[in-house]
Symmetry: C2
Subunit: 112 residues, 2 copies
């Protein structure tokens, strides 16, 4: 049997979790749907859970990541800032690089 190496990476700010895989997934869904409630639905997650995650992201970020608005033509919405989009890209790049590194070193384990 062969082993597999898995990993989780996350970004902390001031000892609080700022961005992780789940939060990035949520940000991507917000970008796609333009609204927090639709994003939550698309991820089969409760609105409250999504809201709590997003709140945590916004509270620990150094610059705005998502802009939300209440009321108006379509009831409101949520939109990523350019900073938010850059964060997603950077996170994904680093994460994929990490997987690649681990894949490269898997034989260290399997050949013991």
């Amino acid at each position: 049997m062969n082993y597999k190496i898995k990993s989780r990476i996350w970004i902390e700010a001031d000892n609080n979790v700022f961005l992780g895989e789940g939060r990035v997934r949520l940000l991507k869904a917000i970008e796609t749907n333009g609204s927090l409630s639709k994003a939550a639905k698309s991820l089969e997650m409760s609105y409250k859970k999504a809201w709590t995650l997003l709140d945590a992201v916004n509270k620990s970020a150094t610059k705005p990541v998502v802009i939300t608005s209440i009321g108006g033509k379509n009831g409101g919405g949520a939109k990523l800032t350019p900073y938010g989009k850059s964060l997603i890209t950077a996170f994904d790049t680093i994460n994929k690089g990490c997987w690649k590194y681990l894949d490269k070193h898997l034989d260290t384990i399997n050949s013991i």
Copy 2:
């Protein structure tokens, strides 16, 4: 403020977690103490939790990792096999390399 990137890696066998940071810490304590109960005490962990962890490791390993014995001169004990020792070393090496990789790419985040 600067962000930090953190990570967790673990090894899976057949879709079950086999080795992670906590289990490696336990294996190291077993190596040091020669007994599971003493290892648990040194990590301020209940004996049962330690036993459950070790049981999971032994069940998903392809070769014996720890040999335990009941009764006898000193009541029994737990001892790492050479395979177990090699696993610890390999895990630590890969883990440190992963941290190094992430450190190297942290500025990607901080410079956005």
